[in-house]
Symmetry: C2
Subunit: 416 residues, 2 copies
């Protein structure tokens, strides 16, 4: 089965942000084994909408429109869909009563303009809207299905899940189940991940794998179909086992948690507390770790030591060390980590010092050069990094590497 | 003039991310006075594409397709557009020579599959591609214009600007210029901004204003048309003057800078240095301020004092104060700001303490309660906030309010 999606509303056609209902619907439809062949965003124009409905209905098995079901003059979805299918609209008395009752509950009288929200395409089934005024509509025309849903995501999503998806599954004969898993890898370029992973996942038709590069990390999206949940899960696991082996400890998560959550969890499990001393990242590592609820059990303080005096005064870095090696050096990174650990009396310390740019780089110490140190009972690990990109990217990558170093250190994996 | 945009390629129809060429084109077209009535993303399917081209060409003055001009079997844009316009494709010998020469430059021989990139719709003009192999195409059919552009943004954008936009401007009779400005307001809900701003901008047809709510701030996008740059700028300024008056000092920027940049700039101009003590925001304010290049002149250190002992040890908060009022209190926020200022010997201090959630709230001190203090020569300002939303939103809003408090304090504006 093939679907086309129409998102209706002139307000969706500005240059500022993309329409999002369609992305959500695409994921839901793919899970039901229905591919989306077209997604359109359309202005509130009757002739345009009628033509678009006609086109989509001539091609797709399922056409789902969102938006344009409100009470105002530019809400034209009902009229356009009726015209495109050559059917009339009839006003449904029970929906009308429901609308009036809803207004009464909020102590208001319904104006006449709202009545058109009770108009249903002849032969269509009205879909209950538990969260707003506009009901949805579902029209079966032989093999084809036309679905009209309200635009607000808070109304559209539950209506789709409760009223539409079961009917689509039945139609698609979808006794097939879909399972998905996302494997995440930090601090490794997308091209390097794909070089290792593609020869593995390329051998699998089911699950299908998509690789998605995000800031400082790469995601492998695995989607498997099966006759049962167990079969789909088994298929996913069969590929995941091989990817884990090929990527040798580089996959940090498969359960939806982001890297800071994974690291905070490892510290928690091991009963270890951490302290941070950040220079070029300016508190970003601390901000990311404290995004994790309950992190106070493992982190009670952190230092942003931007200036040399701050490094000396707050984390006890020996000024002679800065003099000898420069503030951006492996030695100072390690001393910062040690100093933070000592000041906060913790088990683990992290020190980050580098040149985030855009200025401050030299031939010897260019922009993007960042030293990251991790200290603890098992000794110190220091890594020299040269990150590409602008200030924001350099800083974010530095926090990703620091977190990945922590993860590997805590798990007893060798340094990267 | 009305335009429709078709983004072609099955890879654009996944659930993971929205297609972006269309947003960029929409902005460019609006600047040329051409409205976009429809945007579609379409799979690589010949019948689907032909039908979609036919539909769009029956409705719009300009149809612009991106993608599907490559050499592979699923690049079908040329064929579909030719079929929809009832025209033949002819292989252009000079384009063919150009393709061969390009391959030769990279020391490769062109395979036969690449030859179809030299196919041009009968009557269409080929558009030079300086950055890739696929040329674009432009076909005028009476009043209507069909444009085919390559999908990679790095090829599409310059081709549009250099080859297409001048022709569209000429067609639209667009000697008109467009100027835009974005007014930003922090720490004020979108509904409150609009309540004040809508009666003002609603009186203006030119510029047109769009309001956009983002995390912790609201943007007013003003777009003006004029016969000259000066006229368009004058129109923008006429509205901006009124909005500034209506919003009484709440607009923090009109020049593209985000709030941390504005605050860092104010500190810099006044020769003031700042220190931070953050509890629930965990370094997020420091991370945001240090995003600004050159911030080291005004910020040399910051403290994340999550635990009570850290507040006492690092920023000298009196334990009796915590005992008496609780760590989440106006008194402790102010003591943290004072303490950070003293420890770092700066002119200005900020203290933030609150309950970011999801746990830790009580009836008296619920999740979302955050006290923010600013201290300095002009005395202390403390604000009690109760932010809605989850942990991430609470924390971000707290940094926005802290920055807005700093901005107002530094400018000598009264507290919010």
């Amino acid at each position: 089965m093939k679907a086309e999606l129409l998102a209706i509303g002139s307000e969706l056609l500005g240059p500022l942000r993309a329409e999002t209902n369609s992305l959500w619907l695409t994921e839901r439809l793919l899970d039901a084994g229905i591919e989306v062949d077209g997604r359109a965003t359309l202005a509130d124009d009757l002739a345009l909408l009628e033509s678009a409905f006609r086109g989509a209905l001539s091609r797709a098995d399922v056409v789902i429109a969102t938006g344009g079901l409100g009470p105002t003059a530019d809400d034209l979805t009902r009229e356009a869909a009726a015209a495109a299918t050559g059917r009339a609209l009839r006003r449904d008395p029970s929906i009308l009563d429901g609308l009036r009752a809803r207004f009464a509950r909020y102590g208001r009288t319904m104006s006449a303009t709202n009545e058109k929200q009770a108009d249903v395409i002849d032969g269509a089934e009205a879909l209950r809207n538990g969260r707003g005024t506009a009901p949805g509509q579902l029209l079966a025309e032989g093999e084809r299905l036309l679905v009209l849903l309200p635009g607000p995501p808070g109304e559209m999503k539950p209506m789709f899940d409760e009223e539409v998806l079961p009917r689509l599954r039945a139609r698609a004969g979808a006794t097939r189940v879909v399972r998905r898993r996302v494997l995440r890898i930090a601090a490794m370029p997308e091209s390097e991940v794909d070089e290792v992973a593609a020869p593995v996942y390329g051998r699998f038709e089911n699950p299908r794998t998509t690789i998605l590069g995000a800031a400082g990390q790469v995601e492998l999206h695995l989607v498997a179909h099966g006759d049962s949940v167990a079969e789909a899960e088994e298929r996913i696991e069969a590929l995941a086992v091989e990817l884990r082996a090929a990527l040798a400890g580089r996959i940090y998560g498969e359960d939806g948690r982001e890297l800071p959550h994974v690291v905070a969890g490892l510290l928690h499990e091991r009963g270890l507390r951490i302290a941070l001393a950040e220079s070029c990242t300016g508190g970003l590592l601390s901000a990311r770790l404290t995004e994790v609820p309950g992190v106070s059990a493992v982190l009670d303080r952190a230092f942003v030591t931007y200036a040399n005096e701050a490094k000396v005064e707050e984390t006890g870095v020996d000024p002679a060390l800065i003099e000898a090696h420069g503030a951006v050096s492996a030695e100072v990174a390690e001393a910062m980590a040690e100093g933070a650990m000592t000041a906060a009396k913790t088990d683990v310390g992290v020190g980050i010092t580098g040149i985030a740019g855009p200025d401050g780089g030299t031939a010897e110490k260019p922009v993007g050069l960042v030293f990251i140190a991790m200290t603890g009972a098992a000794g110190a690990r220091v890594r020299r990094n040269h990150f590409p990109g602008g200030r924001e990217r350099v800083r974010f990558q530095a926090t990703q590497v620091a977190l990945e170093m922590l993860r590997r250190g805590l798990l007893g994996l060798p340094p990267m």
